[in-house]
Amino acid sequence: MKNSLDRDIPEFLEGLGQLQPFGGAFTKLKKGWMDETTVPPPVKAKLPHADKMCNDLKEAILKTNPHDGMTVSFHHHLRGGDDVLVKSMQILAELGIKDITLASSSLTSAHEPILPYIKDGTISQIYTSGIRGELGKAVAQGCLKKPFVIHSHGGRVRAVHTGRIKIDLTILAASAADNEGNATGSHGPSAFGSMGYASIDSWYASQVIIVTDNLVDYPCVPQSIRQNCVDYVVKVDSIGDPSKIAGDTTRITKSPMDLRIAHLAAKVIEQSGELKNGFSFQVGAGGASLAVAKYIREIMKAREIKGSFILGGVTSYGVDMLNEGLFRSIFDVQSFDAAVSSSLMNNQYHIEIPAGLYANPFNCGCMTNKLDVVVLGALEIDTDFNVNVITGSEGYVRGASGGHSDTASGANLTVAVCPSFRGRIPIVKKKVHTIVTPGESIDVLVTERGICVNPQQKELKKRLIEAGYPVKEITDLANEVEKITGVAQDVEFTDRVVGVVEYRDGSIIDVIRQVKE
């Protein structure tokens, strides 16, 4: 069957069941409630003074009754320094557990050691927001027994609420925790900041293990995860490599290309009329997207504008803007560097939020619904403004859905920033490999070769043209790029669907087919 973006979606997939085709960004939201039934979180009991402490991770896992076919979840707040996920999967594999569904909020390069467990059937399915490196290549080649699901951060929360992701065991790393399981990421030698993605796991998993390298006296404060959800606590020597968990202060790129794009994007935002007192703002963590913040900061200072909140995905650059008084608050679902953890700990207006409050579309107070401006990157964007942030030009999975479609749907102004091509590979093209964010959610594309405005934003286009900005039709830009790069040979795929891209409302916006080797 075709979805509303003309992508072929199977009606049924073994391992996933019936699929619902995407029908528009707000089709399912317009009703005001979710059609699907929700599952209740578990209600657990322990005898008085029962000791939650375990001697090691294996002991804790054994106590949770691991079994074939179980779903195990993790958060990805430890980023490239994560040690916990791989160690946990090693233990489960050594215990002979098979057919595991892995439901990590995302997968990074630090998780590549689990590749053998995918190939040998220990892991048979993955629900995640992103997959990279050799893992991304392997799943695109069809190594998983069942199709993987790529979801947004907000969509993951919805999926847990509906029981689509039914977590048997969650193992959550924390940089500080007490012996009852109250846990945080905001302080400790491996501090990583917000634990926003972990909240839903802690509430809904049948069994919850907290793993920390910093056991503190009871009670641990602050508490991102609370003791009433936790079954077991493990103290380990290290939850990961601190230098890769929370790197140095995030720096603005020096790439002339990225700066050029960022400067143009900031001008577009200024012309849009959204840059005014009380506005809210989200940018990406690097490249041109983060660099936009540098120019917005200059404009805000020059025009004495004070914003309401920064949302994200927060870097130290956002913290600087908070400390300068340019914004009143930060709502933080994920912290990207050490300075952010410190701000979270010490500034009451730097507020940690769970992923559901961040972006679950069926959360009537979700923060993405309040967002004024978001700046997002793209691996590809097509002439209908559909964006791909998940598959590369060779067909492998190499990115993440993340909060892309969540923020794009909610923001008053969504600005996609990217070069029009990279090397010999077109980024602006007639049709993207995989749609993650529908074109209706993207208002403007800013590249080094010009600005393309979605036809639904007639007033903005008029303003930009009158102000003398280099506005182009996106089809003209795609043709211009094609003249430079030539037409690439299409990647060949088999008919086998190895993964689906689930839109935030649970419908399927696209599929990923097996790369023909």
């Binding site: 002339p256 290309m257 050029r260």
Partner: protein, 285 residues
């Protein structure tokens, strides 16, 4: 003018997007000896296939006394970039030899002899001393530029950031260019991280009369544009002067006052220059 090494395809294909008024595709000093042929081929292809939009494209060829110079001319002249940059020019005899070769190539390809311009680059003390003769040698020459790094080396100057050693040369070259009413471009500022230093130098050379500056990193473009672009205040003042000039001209008055200050022909000329730099259409005033 943004300098781009001729053997760097990524930089070449993106050279026109950064907002520079002109780009210089370099076959000379930015390219290693064993890359000269590759650069020549790459730049030739870029000239044929990349649309640099409104950027003026100049190609710096190797000097004809090097093994590469003549081959460069044979490859590039038929493609007729906006201008050819001739490096290390010292005498009118050299210029004549170059012009003869260019003329022959254009003849062979049925091309006109006045379309592609020449930029003469002064990079030695002898070149500085001869710059008046060089600037007026051919109507095809529409700019002179100074190569500060090579000039400092030729003069055996101890490396200094203050520009004192080449200051006389700068002024000499500006005067020669102005006497021929052609453009004059200043040399590169090599410390790409020192944005304040670049701004100070750009402001100084603007006061000397330079009409542009060489850039080696796109991050420098905005600063140089900012220095050379008239401010809103300057544009408004210039417009006021011009409008007053037109009014007084109609009444046969040549010297008049604007805001209490005398305005005569030179002041009007300066005002027109400001308006031209700001891309103001005089007929709309």
């Amino acid at each position: 003018m943004l300098y781009i090494p001729g053997n760097n395809p990524a930089m070449l294909q993106q050279g026109g997007v950064y907002g520079a008024d002109g780009i210089l595709l370099d076959l000379e000093d930015a390219v290693a000896l064993n890359q000269k042929d590759a650069a020549r081929i790459l730049v030739s292809h870029m000239l044929k296939h990349i649309d640099y939009d409104t950027c003026e494209v100049t190609v710096r060829v190797n000097h004809i006394d090097t093994p590469f110079g003549e081959e460069d001319l044979h490859a590039i002249v038929p493609l007729q970039p906006h201008a050819l940059r001739i490096p290390k020019v010292e005498t009118t005899e050299e210029l004549q030899r170059i012009l003869d070769i260019v003329h022959k190539i254009e003849e062979a390809h049925g091309l006109p002899h006045d379309q592609m311009k020449l930029h003469v680059m002064i990079e030695t003390a002898l070149g500085v001393e001869n710059v008046y003769k060089l600037a007026r040698f051919s109507p095809r020459i529409d700019a002179i530029s100074i190569g500060g790094q090579d000039l400092a080396a030729d003069m055996q100057l101890v490396k200094a950031n203050d520009g004192i050693g080449i200051d006389y040369a700068r002024k000499q070259i500006v005067m020669a260019a102005k006497s021929c009413k052609i453009d004059v471009f200043d040399t590169v500022y090599v410390d790409v991280d020192d944005e304040d230093g670049l701004r100070v130098e750009a402001e100084y050379i603007k006061k000397l009369g330079f009409t542009g500056k060489a850039i080696i990193n796109p991050r420098q473009i905005e600063i140089v544009n900012d220095v050379f672009t008239p401010t809103e205040k300057e544009i408004r003042k210039a417009a006021k002067i011009y409008k007053a000039f037109e009014r007084n001209k109609a009444e046969g008055i040549g010297v008049f006052a604007v805001d209490g200050k005398m305005v005569d022909a030179p002041v009007v000329q300066r005002a027109i220059r400001v308006l031209e730099m700001a891309d103001v259409d005089l007929s709309t005033l």
